[in-house]
């Protein structure tokens, strides 16, 4: 285990929750509170997965997702969008810009762990394959 997960989230409470939950499961957690820092860390820290909030100051989660997919280094990185924007349209937008999964807030810590685990397993199953197949999980 010990996969590296990057969380981009501006709400301190939410950040703390996800961070604690994942660390408790044994993941190594990196955090960023805005898009620019998030993108930078995604390059430099080479995380195994990114959890993106949508409503962020400056660059929003959709934009970050889009940019990650445009960069060859991060194009295959599993992305889980975690957002209080819970409408169907938001979910569709997330998938369109390249997210692998979309989880609306409020979300149970257990659900977050499940989704993260599933994405990492897929990535591992894909093995040497270039890209993980996008899956859309349900609640």
């Amino acid at each position: 285990m010990n996969e590296k997960i990057l969380i981009v989230e501006d709400d301190p409470g939410a950040l703390r929750l996800v961070q604690y939950t994942l660390e408790h499961e044994g993941y190594q957690v990196l955090t960023a509170t805005n898009g620019l820092v998030g993108l930078k860390k995604a390059q430099s820290e080479e995380p195994d997965l990114i959890i993106l909030d949508v409503m962020l100051p400056g660059m929003d989660g959709f934009e970050i997702c889009h940019r990650l997919r445009d960069e060859p280094q991060t194009a295959g990185l599993p992305i889980l969008m975690l957002s209080a924007k819970a409408q169907e349209a938001d979910k569709t937008t997330g998938i369109k810009v390249g997210a692998d999964d979309y989880l609306p807030k409020p979300a149970d810590p257990a659900e977050i762990i499940l989704r993260v685990g599933r994405l990492l397993a897929q990535k591992a199953a894909a093995g040497s394959k270039e890209m993980a197949q996008p899956i859309i999980g349900d609640k």
């Binding site: 501006d10 709400d11 301190p12 409470g13 939410a14 703390r16 929750l17 996800v18 604690y20 939950t21 408790h24 509170t33 805005n34 620019l36 820092v37 949508v54 409503m55 962020l56 100051p57 400056g58 929003d60 989660g61 959709f62 957002s83 209080a84 924007k85 819970a86 409408q87 609306p104 807030k105 409020p106 979300a107 149970d108 810590p109 257990a110």
Partner: protein, 760 residues
């Protein structure tokens, strides 16, 4: 009277000879033509006896006589008719032919009355029988012959030179005809002589002419009388004639003075006829006709004019024309008169009012001309047409058109008319108002030229005109117009083609300004969008704290955090997030109160720095967690103000939370306070993302969230509520911002007005 005397009067030599003789007192030269020498001696003795002035030359033969006559002039010829070389009257004729002006006295042995008469008729002055003649008789006869011939010559001269035709009739036939007479009647002298004088008279006038002649013979010279004669070419001509009884060749004859008056007669008759004709035209004319003298008095009026004015002819004739026109028209007529006097060209036709006998005013159209009569007096001839009814009808039509126009002009919708090419023919007042062009700017112009339609509607306009062209009405269609000042106007247009005859089709269009409706619709749509955005945002804002609260609660329930300090940390987060939820709900309630007008502030004295310190303290943790430094610069000396502290905190909370929300780590948020004039000003400045103009404009609107930056969260109510709060305090709130450099929100509050120290 029954004798016939032929006289030729066309010989010029006759005059000359006569004149010469009159001039001198020479002896009369007598040429005796006699073959009997003895008798010749006797004659010579007869004429020379008494020694009186005869100079006799004797020849025996006609040929000698003719030679003498040719060589020199003679006063008289004594002619024997029986000569060796000529016999009878023929002898005399030959002598006459040689010397027509010289009187001939026939001297013959033949006592033959018939011959004598013949000789006389042929122009002999006398006929003497040999043996019955003595000296005194002969001399007297010679003298008479000379005298008579001379008198004849004078008469002939008169007759020839007179412009009046002159003739002598004896025994009902022409004996003498002057050249002028010949010319008038068209017959030659030869034809006329011996012609019955009544033959040239028109058959209907013959009796009258005969009576005149008889009367004259009985009672002396007649006064002139007129009759018709017929010329040789058959023309009927008129003559005025006087006749006189004269002695001609020793007997009574009639002298006629014959003056042709055909032209005058024709002129008279023509005049009479044309006058009759014109009078009848004038009398029966459907126009009134009047003639005025140079003092504007009626000389003539026709029946129609009397009928129009209801006056009788007698009441009008001699009256001043101006008495019959109304005051207004008097001036008009006078002006025209003056202008005409000045020689200005004025239109021949004009209108004025006449006052009828019963006082009614009638509108008439007059066309007048002036003429000069034979005495040079100026008269006015005028034709007058009663146009009252026409004017009334025109006025009625005009009024009804005016009425229709008024209706159109006051229509609540724009009404316009254009041709099938889109050129405007009319636009009512409302149409003017809608597009901002005045009628004169519109009419005659094409909508394309006026640039009335935005490009995207041109195809549609073409389609509508095409439908009109095939007789189809269109609409209502909604489209935008470009007004004169460039503004866009939403309109609803319906059109109906109207056919005028075969060729021409005009289109009447009805245009309704629906800009307000459109704007309201758009505003409603925008409000709808904002509301649905609002709901999405509210749910997002509710979910975010809920997410933490629920997550941490779950973790704690699952006992996944045994450490008490971690538990406390989590509980603090749950507490904070609960407070956020509460704030959100407060905002929603405030907004709702503002909507319903139930929003109240409760003022009390406070120091602004206390409020600011408290709020900044609340944000300190959050800011530092994001790496943002909050600086404050609040002078100690800031005076107390009267305000609702709770509400002011709410405003500052909003501004600070926004500043932190839109800022990145490592930047500063600065809060300053100052007084300016009679106001306190608080500024919150960040170094965050900033915002463009279009965002700033709407920032304080209810539910407004910039579309591009809407991902940041918030209800869209904070600034709206803040603005309401500040304004309720009598202050105002504003924002300055630059994209990428940050924003400054500032608000003012009025200072307490105390005795002049409010400025520090």
């Amino acid at each position: 009277m029954r004798n016939r005397l032929g006289v030729r009067i066309s010989d010029k030599r006759c005059e000359t000879a006569t004149k010469e003789k009159e001039m001198s007192d020479k002896p009369n030269k007598v040429l005796l033509v006699e073959d009997n020498l003895e008798y010749a001696h006797l004659i010579r003795a007869m004429v020379s006896g008494g020694g009186t002035g005869f100079e006799l030359t004797h020849v025996e033969r006609l040929s000698d006589a003719l030679e003498h006559l040719n060589k020199e002039s003679w006063d008289v010829v004594l002619l024997d008719l029986l000569l060796p070389d000529s016999h009878g009257l023929d002898t005399m004729v030959k002598v006459q032919a040689q010397a027509p002006s010289i009187p001939i006295v026939v001297l013959t042995g033949l006592d033959d009355e018939a011959l004598a008469i013949k000789a006389m008729q042929k122009g002999a002055q006398d006929y003497l029988v040999k043996g019955m003649v003595d000296g005194s008789l002969l001399k007297r006869s010679i003298r008479y012959a000379i005298e008579r011939k001379r008198a004849e010559g004078v008469f002939k001269t008169l007759a020839i030179s007179s412009p009046i035709g002159i003739y002598i009739v004896q025994d009902r036939v022409f004996q003498l005809v002057s050249p002028q007479f010949q010319e008038l009647v068209g017959y030659s002298e030869d034809e006329l002589l011996d012609m019955d004088s009544l033959r040239i008279v028109h058959p209907e006038d013959r009796e009258m002419v005969r009576e005149k002649a008889i009367k004259m013979l009985k009672a002396g010279p007649s006064s002139p009388y007129e009759y018709r004669y017929i010329s040789k070419s058959g023309q009927i001509k008129w003559v005025t004639e006087t006749v006189t009884s004269i002695q001609y060749r020793g007997r009574r004859a009639t002298l006629g003075n014959f003056l042709d008056i055909t032209e005058r007669k024709q002129a008279e008759e023509g005049l009479l006829e044309s006058e009759e004709r014109f009078r009848s035209i004038v009398e029966n004319s459907h126009d009134g006709i009047m003639i005025l003298d140079d003092a504007h008095r009626f000389i003539y009026v026709n029946d129609e004019l009397c009928r129009i004015a209801k006056y009788s002819r007698e009441e009008v004739i001699g009256q001043d024309f101006r008495k019959f026109i109304d005051e207004e028209s008097k001036q008009l007529v006078a002006e025209r008169y003056i202008r005409r006097q000045r020689g200005e060209k004025i239109p021949p036709r004009y209108e004025f009012n006449i006052v009828c006998k019963d006082g009614e005013k009638r509108r008439v159209e007059i066309s007048s001309t002036t003429i000069k009569d034979s005495a040079g007096r100026v008269k006015t001839v005028a034709q007058i047409l009663d146009v009252t009814e026409r004017k009334r009808a025109e006025e009625k039509l005009r009024q009804s058109e005016e009425k229709l126009k008024t209706y159109l002009e006051s229509a609540p919708d724009g009404v316009y008319i254009n041709d099938l090419k889109g050129t405007f023919l009319y636009g009512n007042k409302k149409a003017e108002e809608i597009i901002g062009y005045r009628k004169e700017e519109l009419i005659g112009k094409n909508f394309l030229k006026l640039n009335l339609l935005p490009a995207k509607y041109l195809a549609k306009a073409g389609k509508l005109l095409a439908l009109n062209a095939i007789g189809r009405p269109t609409g209502p269609d909604e489209l935008e117009l470009i007004g004169k000042d460039g503004t866009r106007i939403w309109v609803e247009i319906s059109t109906t083609p109207v056919k005028h005859g075969e060729e021409k089709t005009e289109v009447i269009g009805f245009v309704r300004d629906i800009t307000e409706r459109k704007e309201a619709e758009n505003a409603l749509r925008e409000l709808d969008r904002m509301k649905s955005d609002f709901i999405a945002n509210v749910s997002h804002e509710l979910r975010t704290p809920l997410h933490s609260i629920r997550g941490f609660t779950e973790l704690m329930l699952q006992d996944k955090m045994p450490e008490p300090e971690v538990q406390k940390e989590f509980l603090t987060i749950i507490d904070n997030q609960s407070k956020n939820l509460e704030k959100l709900i407060d905002d929603l309630l405030d907004a709702s109160r503002l909507e319903s007008g139930r929003f109240k502030i409760q003022k009390h004295r406070l120091l602004i720095k206390d409020v600011i310190s408290e709020v900044v303290g609340d944000f300190y943790t959050i800011a530092s967690e994001k790496g943002i430094t909050i600086n404050t610069d609040i002078p100690e000396a800031l005076p107390e103000i009267e305000a609702d502290g709770k509400r002011l905190k709410q405003v500052l909370n909003n501004l600070l939370s926004n500043a932190i929300k839109f800022s990145n780590g490592g930047t500063h948020v600065t809060v300053t306070g100052a007084t300016k004039d009679s106001e306190l000003m608080v500024r919150v400045t960040d170094q965050g993302v900033g915002m463009p103009e279009e965002v700033r404009q709407h920032l304080f609107e209810r539910f407004y969230r910039a579309k591009d930056t809407a991902r940041v969260g918030g209800t869209g109510l904070g600034l709206y509520i803040s603005k309401q709060i500040i304004e309720a305090h009598g202050g105002h709130i504003l924002v300055e911002s630059k994209v990428g450099e940050g924003s400054t929100f500032s608000f003012t509050l009025p200072l307490i007005k105390t005795s002049g120290d409010s400025n520090e």
